[in-house]
Every structure is written in C-alpha cells, then in structure tokens.
C-alpha cells in the first residue's frame, strides 16, 4: 500500500489545521454560511437532511486494517456507530457535529486519510477495480497509476475550480469492474505488441441527468505520456466547459457539443504543446517509488486445503458462499473474498463499527492486511488463502457478514436516497430492502442468476441505475414517491444504458413489478446460462414491458 511521505503528512495536517480555524471562525460568527460552505465542502463536509455528513476519501478503494479500525473508532466516538460505503469507493459518516469535524479529520490524518476533494468542482477520488493487484484476468495493477494521478491532482491549482466535478476511473483488466465508460475520463490499461504499458483513454462518460457512454479519444497512450495527455484533456475542458449552466457543465456535454473529432484535435494540440514544454513528464523515480508501494504481498504456501475441501463437499452454505463471493486470484492457492454488505434488511453499503473491526481483523490475520471497497458497496479481502476460507466464512457469518449473494438479485446498489440525502426526490434504501426481502430465498436467487439491480433516489444517479440490468429511479410524482424502471443497462466493458420501460410505480408496486419481470425472464430464457441481460438483449424490451404493464397489454389486445 502507498505510505505517506513527509510532504503528504505535512500537507494533510496543514489542511486539518486550516479547517479547524475555519470552523472556529464560523462558530464565532466571523464567517457567514455563504463564506463557510465552499470551505467545508472542500473538506468533504456536507449538510444533509438530518445532520452534517462527512465524506472521507478511500483512495482507489484501498484500506489497511489499521485504517478500517480507525473508521470504526470514528463511527463510535463521533458518529452513531456505523458508516456508509459508497459507489465512489468512499465512506460517509451521517451524523458528525460541526465542532467535532476537525478532531475527526485529525484522527483520519493519524492513519494517512482525509476528506479532501470529496466534493467541489475538482478532480475527485480516482477509482479503480476493487480486485486490482489480485485478479487473475489483470494485465497490470492499476493502483500505481491511480496513486500517481491522486498526487498530481491533489490541490492542483489549475484544476481546483473546474466547470464541474471531474471523475477518473482506471482498470487494469479487460473485464471492466471500474465502470470506466461512465467517468469523465476512463483509463483501460493495455500492453502494446512491443510489451509497452499504456492506456486506452475514454472521455466524456457519465451518468446523472444526461447519461452518456464514454468514447475512446486515444487508442493507445504510452505510460510516459499519461500526465501530459490527462492535463491536456483537463485544460481543454477547463477552457471550454460550460460555466453558464450547472446541468451542462460536465465534460460529456462539451464533448458532445464540440464533437469527438474536434475535441480530440484540441486535446492533441494541447498535448503536443505540453510535451514540448516538458512540464508534464512523468518522473520515473517517483513512479518507481509509488510502484514499489504496490508490490505484491509475500504470498504464503497454499497450505492444507483438506478442511476447505471437506467443507465444500459437506456444507451447502459454505459452498454457496464460495460459489458466489469468492473469485479467482492470480496466485496459486489464493482467492479473492468479497464480503457482502447486502444482508437482507441491511442498508446497502452500511457497516457497523463492530463489523468494520471484524473485517479489519480478518484482513490482518488472513489477508496481508488489505481491504478494498467496491463501487458495488461491498468490502473485499483481495488476498486470502483458499485454505483459510472456512475460518473467514465462519467469522463473517457470526458478524452478520456471511451473506452469499454477490452478483445476485440481493446484491443491490442503492444510494442513501431520501432517508439521508438533501438532493433526493425519493427513498432508495427501503426499496432495496423490500426487493432483497422478497427474493431472499438463496435457492431462488441462484436460479435467477446474475442480476444487477441499482437504485438511485434522484436523477443524479449516484446509485448507477442507468447501467443496471434493472434500474430503479425514485422521483416525486404528485406529492408521492414514484419509481421509474429502466431495463437492459450494463456497467461493464460492453456498457449499455437502460431503457425506460414506461410509467413509474408507487413504492408498494415496485416489488410486484419486479416479480413479474423476473418470472417473465425465467419463462423466456433459453437455458440457465442465459442471464437476464442476455435474454433482454436477445428478446428486446417488448415481453418485459408487457410483464410490467399487463393492463396495457390487455387494452392493446382488445
């Protein structure tokens, strides 16, 4: 893992000290709310429906056990005993008091963490594949690049007041688990035929009120040119991005209005200028220093697998957990274990302080001290021995963390929605809970197979509903919560945007609507191997719309 150097440490401490002074001045009345608000947002402090909310950056979703334990301590000491892991691989505390926030930030700095650039029109936390450095299908670990970009973008004076926020995601694997095509810049690591590492650069993707699938602006960018090229994109955006209309200020709108070819030409011209000035070259010594931090752990021997094999043969619950929550690791004898934060009746992404400690202990004992947060709001133990899976599973089960549902219908992404969020137009969490409850039979969930349900409580789409197999968008209609359903979205390298199926549903109608959808899928699929998404792509929307709106079908038949 990356370790702060003296400069990093001093920078973060100085920011805490400055913010403590700003809070003091706000409390004394020396700063008005209008003056204070941009300052608190620069430190991740929002005001939500019931309280302040502190959004803490988890760079590229990587945590040590010490950091996870500190999050638990913060949750207990200054919050209400839990935290919420988000689709941006961050954590949010929902109940901090204003006067306590400087102390919380100090506690974060103690473990090399902060809340900088988790808000505002700057470059946000760089996100990546939660299986980075572990996945069997990976070309190269994307985290050194992510860390390099983090350092470059931190407090970058030129890019601190962009037209709008800016999100970069990177994947080192051809199987895109980082949703790169829905980011302002998406990077896919590639190897050239000559064996050189580089990136496919995708630009202008995004969800929100105007969902757009990012387009390739550069097929292959050599690693040495990364900063110059990213800087060129940011410069073109900073200059031409719209500042007159918040809803048209993201780079996706600029790319669309300019046209990809013209946009690319401007970026390439700026890129050549930057290269000529040598101002954005990657320092190989610094890159090597960072890369060394992400060296693979000292993997152990596979160990005695007999207990694991016996349990697999005799314990169906353990078998189910291994089948759904465990992924192939590149190292023989090792596995990636995903801890589901989607138990039935849980709020997706929420973990109690006790659960955080259990996960931290497991990482320390069995997982080379590493944890990851996935954009799907689960926690990952990226490096565990298969031989240790039984004990890991047993420990998780005792803490309410043993749910075997990764990638299944109960593994729902849900934003906080109107239970917490000031921007929300409807609730998300209770809808997710109703669906998870209805489809809680593990055997039935296995029969349904791979299913991505994602719920957003407003059009800003933090819940990624546009790229869900079944997306749910909560809106207000005539003074009530109303839920629109989209079908056929997909977040992977073959990204597609879901199509709106028709009129929205009242909250209590959502589960019956989903039941009709799922039953229809199960009736129409060609085999168990045909997932919902595959069936939707083969059959089109018609049979699923008919299932969602049977009355309409009846009217059409008459």
């Amino acid at each position: 893992m990356y370790r702060y150097d003296e400069f990093d440490q001093a920078f973060v401490r100085e920011r805490v000290r400055r913010f403590a002074g700003q809070v003091e001045r706000r409390l004394s009345g020396a700063l008005t709310e209008d003056e204070f608000k941009p300052l608190r947002l620069q430190n991740g402090l929002y005001l939500q429906l019931h309280a302040y909310m502190l959004r803490v950056a988890i760079p590229y979703g990587t945590l040590s056990s010490r950091q996870m334990r500190q999050l638990a301590t913060i949750a207990e000491r200054w919050d209400k005993g839990y935290g919420h892991f988000t689709t941006r691989q961050n954590i949010q505390f929902n109940w901090p008091k204003l006067k306590d926030v400087p102390a919380i930030l100090d506690a974060l700095a103690d473990v090399e963490m902060h809340a900088i650039q988790t808000s505002g029109n700057c470059i946000r936390n760089v996100t990546t594949d939660h299986f980075a450095g572990a996945a069997a299908d990976e070309i190269e670990d994307p985290r050194p690049t992510a860390e390099f970009l983090r350092q470059w973008s931190t407090d970058h004076p030129e890019f601190s007041f962009l037209p709008r926020k800016f999100k970069i995601a990177i994947t080192g694997s051809p199987n895109d688990r980082a949703v790169t095509k829905a980011h302002d810049i998406g990077l896919r690591m590639l190897r050239s035929e000559a064996g050189e590492t580089g990136y496919e650069v995708i630009v202008g993707g995004g969800l929100g009120r105007t969902p757009v699938i990012g387009e390739v602006v550069r097929d292959f960018l050599p690693r040495a040119d990364l900063l110059a090229y990213i800087e060129a994109i940011l410069r073109v955006y900073n200059l031409h991005g719209r500042r007159d209309n918040k809803y048209k200020a993201r780079i996706k709108i600029l790319v669309r209005e300019t046209g990809l070819e013209n946009f690319r030409a401007e970026v390439e011209a700026e890129f050549e200028r930057l290269k000529a000035s040598h101002s954005a070259e990657i320092d190989p010594t610094e890159l090597a220093r960072i890369e060394a931090c992400f060296a693979p752990p000292a993997f152990a021997e596979a160990g005695d697998l007999s207990t694991c094999e016996t349990r697999l043969a005799t314990d169906p619950d353990f078998r189910a957990w291994v089948d759904t929550n465990v992924t192939a690791h590149r190292q023989p004898g090792y596995a990636i274990a995903t801890i589901s934060l989607k138990a039935v009746n849980a709020a997706p992404g929420d973990a109690s302080a006790d659960q955080m400690r259990v996960m931290a202990d497991l990482a320390e004992r069995f997982g080379h001290d590493e944890l990851r947060i996935s954009h799907e709001q689960n926690v990952v133990l990226p490096h565990v021995r298969r031989a240790d899976l039984p004990e890991i599973n047993d420990t998780l089960a005792l803490a309410g963390l043993g749910t075997a549902n990764i990638g299944q219908i109960g593994d729902i992404i849900a934003c906080p929605g109107m239970d917490y969020c000031a921007l929300a137009t409807a609730r998300s969490i209770p809808i997710a809970q109703d669906i998870a409850q209805h489809f809680s039979d593990p055997a039935h969930a296995r029969t349904i197979g791979e299913m991505k349900i994602k719920i957003s409580g407003c059009i800003n789409a933090c819940g990624h509903h546009h790229v869900a197999h079944i997306g749910i968008l909560g809106l207000e209609k005539a003074g009530r919560e109303n839920y629109q359903i989209t079908l056929g979205g997909n977040h992977s390298e073959t990204m597609s945007l879901g199509e709106r199926a028709g009129p929205g549903f009242d909250a209590h109608e959502v589960v019956p609507a989903l039941e009709r959808l799922i039953s229809t899928y199960l009736e129409l699929r060609e085999s168990e191997a045909e997932t919902f998404l595959m069936a939707y792509r083969r059959l089109g929307a018609a049979p699923f719309k008919a299932a969602l709106y049977p009355e309409k079908e009846l009217q059409n038949a008459v």
Binding site: R26, L27, G29, T32, E33, L47, Q48, L49, H50, A51, Y52, K80, W95, P96, K97, L98, K99, A347, M418, D419, Y420, A426, R427, I429, P430, Q433, G479, R480, E481, D506, A507, H508
Partner: protein
Amino acid sequence: MSRKHGPKIVSANDLLEGDVVYLDEAGGWTRDLNRAAVAHDAEAAQALLADAIAQQDRIVGPDLIEIGLSTSGVRRPVHYRDIFRERGPSNRPDLGRQSAAGAAYDAPAREAAHV
C-alpha cells in the same frame, strides 16, 4: 419545499448539531414542531423567513415548509421530505428524533409516503 397554500413554518438545520430545528414564536429555535411559529398567509410567512435568515449565526438553510394536522391532531409537515427530516431515516427507527418520539407519530415511518 414551500408551496402556495396552507399554513407554513420555518425549518432549518442547527449550525452546531446539524439537526432540524423550527423557528418558534419568540424568534428562537425549537426541536418541537408543535412549538413552531405558524404563518397563515404569504406575508406572515415571508416575515418569519426574514427573521430566520437574519439568524444564520445559529442555523443553516432556513426554508418555509407547509404543515397540516394529522388525524390525531398532531402537527405534521405536508411533504414527505419534511416528514423524514422531522423523524429521521425511515430504515433506522432507532436514529433521529423518531427514536425518542414513541407514540407521537401516528403512522410507521415506512408508510409515511403512502398514507
């Protein structure tokens, strides 16, 4: 969330705690909806809001919200957003004001939007 009709009160978030507070008759702030100052016309509503805006050393985000009477006579916000703000997260009855309110609420939070 202000609307054209119906009695209104001013809600805001407390500067220190961040929780929801309401402007009371004395020009101070209360956490009890039933002690909030009520405006029955637009002019009175604007006067209340002006009073609140002048107090941003104590509160954040003052806004007018519409209230009505529930079946049991308890005041309650008209819009579901304000109901959740008053109570707390609907999935966590142990958190927010609802955790101490007990019988004060006449419908489970989960059902609030459907009644």
